[in-house]
Each structure stands twice: as structure tokens, then as C-alpha cells.
């Protein structure tokens, strides 16, 4: 048996998988990455929300949750469709959704958090919507007309998502002692996953520089203002921890994503090449 250093020398040093985004990427690559971040986030959140189908606390919520999931999956088709086009490698939106492994996914860690109780699902939705809405508003002014067009369509849907999730957070935060306690617990639990979407990395910076995407520091200001206002109305305390998890945007995920993909991709993996 060779010693460890011998084995190491035989490895191809370029074989490191899951690209690191520390260096500034080429513009086309950056656009592809940025579109994956949008499309993968809507896909994974849509998946999570769809897990509620038939299990919501009231019938109106069954309908609203299915509607939210449906909007998010529709947006995924558009973002991943454009990503596939930009990549120019002959892949489709479905290929990107169903035939990549976790390390190639670029969704925010926030959206892969498990559903938990209705409060956790709702809080995750609100924290995401409060980012998604200003983000899409910024994207509507993108220098890339394809991006602007998708953002305009998605923006109308997401404005409604945000109205709804903010309203429910306020009502349940300021409801009974139990609902307050559950909403606060959900907020505390999810808070460390909110930094990623508000903190630009090299790809975000390149996209902002090119006028394709808004500057995340501006989005962060909007987000903090809106979240602060809603939490105050909800009588919920803004967590003071400052530690933030990251990695989703670069392809380093939590353990949950693998299970989501195992379920989501099952048929495409079990019956390669079949049409559905």
C-alpha cells in the first residue's frame, strides 16, 4: 500500500469539483452563475413549499401555499431556461434542475432549510420574499433585456407573496402567546441564514458592475428596513447574533439539499433519457 503522500501526488490537481468563486469570473460565466442562483433558489424553495400540499392549517393556506410554489416553479423555468441559453451547452432548464448534483446548485442555504412547523415555513418565506421583491425590482432595470423581462413577470407574483407573508408574520407574531413563541423561535433559527443573500461576492459584484443585477448592499438596506418594520409590528425581537452561514451561492450546501435532490430527481435518474 502506498503511503499517503504517494497517493496524493497521483491526483489531478485540477480535479477539484464545485467551483470556488473567490476569483472574479469571466462575464458569461458570471451571468450563468447568477442566473443559477436565482433559478435554483426559486426551485428549492418551490420544492419545500410544495411539501405542504394538503397539510396546511386551513384550506385557504393549502391554496395559498400551492399558489406560491406554483409561482416559484414557473419562475424557475424562466431563470433556468435563460441560464441554459446563456451557457450554450445544449442543456435545457429541466437538465439543469434534474441532472446536476448538489455541488453544482447555487441556491441560498435559507431555502433548503426544512419546513418545520407552519411558523418556520412562513418565516422562511417572509425573510426570502423581503429579499426577493427588491431584488426583482432591481432586476427589472437590468441592462440585459431578457433578465428584465423575467423580473417584471416574477415581480408581480412576488409582490403578492411578500404582502401575504409579511401580513401573516405580523398577525401570528402578535397573536397568542404560543404563536408569538413559535414565530420568535422560527426567526431565531433562520436568522443566521439571511446573511448570504445580502452579502455580495465576486460574482455579485461583477453582475452589479455590468448593470445586469442590482447592488446587493442596496438590497440589504431595503431588506433591513422592511424586516425591521414588520418584526416591530409583529412584536418580535430582531436576533442580535451576527454570525451568518454561507456557501450556498458557491455550491457548498447543508445536508438537506442532497435529500431534496434525491427525491426531486428520482425519475430522471432512474429512467435516463425517458420523456415524460
Amino acid at each position: 500500500m502506498p503511503s499517503l503522500p504517494d497517493m496524493m501526488t497521483k491526483l489531478d490537481p485540477s480535479g477539484a469539483a464545485g467551483g470556488s468563486a473567490s476569483a472574479a469570473p469571466a462575464p458569461a460565466d458570471a451571468l450563468f452563475e447568477a442566473l443559477l442562483r436565482l433559478g435554483d433558489s426559486t426551485l428549492i424553495l418551490g420544492h419545500r413549499v410544495s411539501e405542504w400540499c394538503g397539510h396546511a392549517p386551513v384550506l385557504e393556506e393549502d391554496i395559498a401555499l400551492a399558489n406560491t410554489a406554483l409561482d416559484l416553479i414557473g419562475q424557475t423555468q424562466l431563470w433556468l431556461g435563460l441560464a441554459a441559453e446563456v451557457e450554450g451547452a445544449g442543456r435545457s432548464a429541466d437538465d439543469l434542475a434534474y441532472l446536476r448534483d448538489a455541488w453544482d446548485f447555487r441556491n441560498l442555504l435559507l431555502v433548503e432549510r426544512p419546513n418545520g412547523d407552519f411558523g418556520a415555513t412562513l418565516m422562511r418565506q417572509f425573510l426570502f420574499d423581503a429579499w426577493h421583491q427588491p431584488m426583482l425590482k432591481g432586476l427589472e432595470g437590468s441592462s440585459d433585456p431578457r433578465v428584465a423581462e423575467i423580473a417584471a413577470k416574477a415581480g408581480r407574483e412576488v409582490a403578492y407573496h411578500l404582502d401575504r407573508s409579511a401580513d401573516l408574520v405580523i398577525r401570528l407574531g402578535d397573536g397568542t402567546d404560543e404563536s408569538h413563541r413559535r414565530m420568535q423561535a422560527a426567526l431565531d433559527d433562520l436568522w443566521p441564514y439571511t446573511g448570504e443573500m445580502l452579502t455580495p461576492d465576486a460574482t455579485d459584484a461583477a453582475m452589479a458592475e455590468a448593470g445586469v443585477m442590482p447592488d446587493l448592499t442596496a438590497i440589504a438596506r431595503d431588506w433591513h428596513a422592511l424586516v425591521g418594520d414588520v418584526l416591530a409590528q409583529a412584536t418580535l425581537a430582531r436576533p442580535d447574533g451576527s454570525y451568518m452561514h454561507k456557501g450556498g451561492k458557491q455550491g457548498t450546501h447543508t445536508e438537506h439539499l442532497g435529500y431534496i435532490l434525491a427525491e426531486m430527481q428520482f425519475l430522471q435518474r432512474a429512467y435516463p433519457g425517458a420523456e415524460w
Binding site: 392549517p57 393556506e61 407552519f118 404563536s179 429512467y271
Partner: protein, 328 residues
């Protein structure tokens, strides 16, 4: 159909009726619609509550077998279509609970009866969805059977029920088409996909026939409901129509209906077919179907697990109504 074996009150002849009852029956016979504020016999009201309630419960329990495959749908488009369909079913539940409310029963009361097992939902939703092809079979056969029953109910005598049916029927035909489209893709697909499609038809054929309820000769409550026009056709009529419509569709798919006794009967202008195993049907109705416990359990858990949400929303509304009042 989504309402099976709905018990209705005893039937009277015109001579035995009170003047009010006779006037009521004559309105129905003339094809007039009965509206919530109109006088109606207690039996009519009770029977309708049972029937509409059972139908509403079927819609919401019906989310579960299809919801089972949303996260595993094989393409983004299939996922979106399935989500839209399940969302429609929840919407159907909502229309129907609203129609029942016009008869003086609240949604919460009806749900309590579902959860405690006092009210039923359609037997079909107690069967499992085991493969993707089941999403095709459910749309094609289950929504197809529901349409068979619901299209005539658009003409039912009770106004709110009739209007709910008109809205629902539009969406159901879309459901059936998307189900058939899934089957078509599978039947024209790989060997494994064809096998999946045939297997789904094998498992869903007889349970779909059971949706129409027991044979007319064993169906004791039909006459009164038919006189009141809250049941428009007999169980056997609808079942025959369903078989006659579905067999050519199966042939077009290249699939085999799992019934060796199936043959065209020129004389009656329809197919002869084997009746489902009614002992299985009664077991499922009693709670012994493959998924009864899971389905009802899931609904009860959703309700109980969501109590804090409903309470929280109520408490918030009360607080703010009180604050508003104090400010005035």
C-alpha cells in the same frame, strides 16, 4: 363520483305530502332552482348537507394522493401542472364548503365530522399512488369518473350546489386531459414506462368503477334523491357510461383493461363488463382500505397541528378589533 351512498330521507308520494312539500316538489319538477332562503323540507336540507359535505371532503382528501408526487414530478412543467391541479382541488373543496354553509352548517362542523369518522369521503382516495403513472391514471380515470357524475349535477335543483358544479366542471375537464396526456407519454415511451402505465390502469380500474357506488339493486336511497334532483342518474347508468367512454381511450393508448369479461354488446349499445369486488368496496368504506389511516391521519394532523395558527389569527383579529373600538 365523490359522494357515495349518501343516505336520504324516506320518499313520499304527492298525496302524502303537506301543501308546502307538494309546492316544493312541483317547483323542482318544473326545473326551478331552490335558493338558500326558500322553504325546503328538512330531509332535503339534511341530504344535501351530507352529499355536498362528502363531496367537499373528497376534494380536500383528494389532494393527498396526488400531492404525494409533486416533489417527484419528472419535469418542471409536469410539476407545475400537478401543483395547479392539486390547488384546484383545494379550491373545489372551498366552493363546496361554502355551498354547504348556505344550508346552515359551518365548515368547522363538517370538518369535525370528517375527522371523527362520522362523515366519509370517496373510497378512491384510500388507494395509494405508487408510481408516476398513477398521476396519469388518477387524472384520466378518477377525474374522468368525477366528471361523469358532476356534469349532470350542474342541473341539480339546489342553486348554490349547481353553481359550484358549473365552476368545478370546467377545471375537471382540464384535469382529465392532463392525466390522459401523462398516460399517452408513458404509453408511447420506453418499455419501463409502458409497464408503469399498464400497472396503473390495472390498479385503478376497479376502484374507479367503485366510485359510482353500489349497484342500483343495492342502492336504497336513490329514489328520493332523484325526485329532489340532487342525484341525476343511477349509479349503474353512470358506471356504464364511464366504461363505454373509457374503454376506447384505453385501446387508443394500447393498454389492456384488466377485465376478461369485457366485450361489446351490440344489443345494448354498450360494453358488458365485470362488476368490481363489492366486498372490497365495503371494506374500504369501513376504513380497511390500503390508505384510510394515512389519509385521515394526515388530515387530522394538519388540523390539530394548525390549531395554534388558527388561534393566533383569531387572537390577533380580536386584539385589533378591540384596539380599533377603543380608539373610536
Amino acid at each position: 363520483m365523490y359522494a357515495q351512498m349518501v343516505k336520504s330521507e324516506g320518499m313520499k308520494s304527492l298525496d302524502e305530502m303537506s301543501p308546502e312539500e307538494r309546492a316544493f316538489q312541483e317547483r323542482i319538477d318544473r326545473g326551478e332552482k331552490i335558493e338558500p332562503r326558500d322553504w325546503m323540507p328538512e330531509g332535503y336540507r339534511k341530504t344535501l348537507i351530507r352529499q355536498i359535505g362528502q363531496h367537499a371532503h373528497s376534494e380536500i382528501v383528494g389532494q393527498l394522493p396526488e400531492g404525494n408526487w409533486i416533489t417527484r414530478a419528472p419535469t418542471l412543467e409536469r410539476k407545475a401542472i400537478l401543483l395547479a391541479k392539486v390547488q384546484d382541488e383545494a379550491g373545489h373543496g372551498l366552493y363546496l364548503y361554502c355551498a354547504a354553509e348556505t344550508l346552515g352548517v359551518s365548515r368547522d362542523e363538517l370538518l369535525e365530522k370528517l375527522h371523527s369518522g362520522k362523515m366519509k369521503y370517496s373510497s378512491i382516495f384510500n388507494y395509494p399512488t405508487l408510481t408516476w403513472a398513477d398521476m396519469g391514471a388518477v387524472g384520466w380515470l378518477v377525474d374522468g369518473a368525477a366528471i361523469m357524475n358532476q356534469v349532470p349535477l350542474q342541473r341539480t335543483s339546489y342553486g348554490p350546489y349547481s353553481r359550484a358544479m358549473i365552476r368545478i366542471c370546467k377545471e375537471e375537464s382540464f384535469h382529465q386531459r392532463q392525466g390522459y396526456h401523462i398516460m399517452m407519454k408513458l404509453a408511447r415511451g420506453t418499455e419501463a414506462q409502458k409497464r408503469m402505465a399498464q400497472d396503473a390502469l390495472n390498479r385503478f380500474w376497479y376502484p374507479s368503477l367503485m366510485m359510482f357506488g353500489p349497484s342500483d339493486k343495492d342502492s336504497v336511497h336513490s329514489a328520493q334523491s332523484m325526485a329532489w334532483k340532487i342525484k341525476m342518474n343511477t349509479n349503474d347508468e353512470l358506471r356504464q357510461k364511464f366504461v363505454d367512454q373509457t374503454v376506447p381511450q384505453a385501446e387508443y393508448l394500447g393498454l389492456t383493461v384488466p377485465d376478461e369479461g369485457l366485450r361489446w354488446n351490440d344489443e345494448k349499445g354498450g360494453y358488458d363488463f365485470t362488476e368490481p369486488d363489492w366486498s372490497e368496496f365495503f371494506e374500504v368504506i369501513k376504513g380497511n382500505g390500503p390508505c384510510n389511516k394515512e389519509r385521515l391521519g394526515a388530515r387530522v394532523q394538519a388540523w390539530e397541528g394548525g390549531a395554534w395558527v388558527r388561534d393566533g389569527l383569531m387572537a390577533h383579529a380580536k386584539k385589533h378589533a378591540a384596539a380599533k373600538l377603543a380608539a373610536e
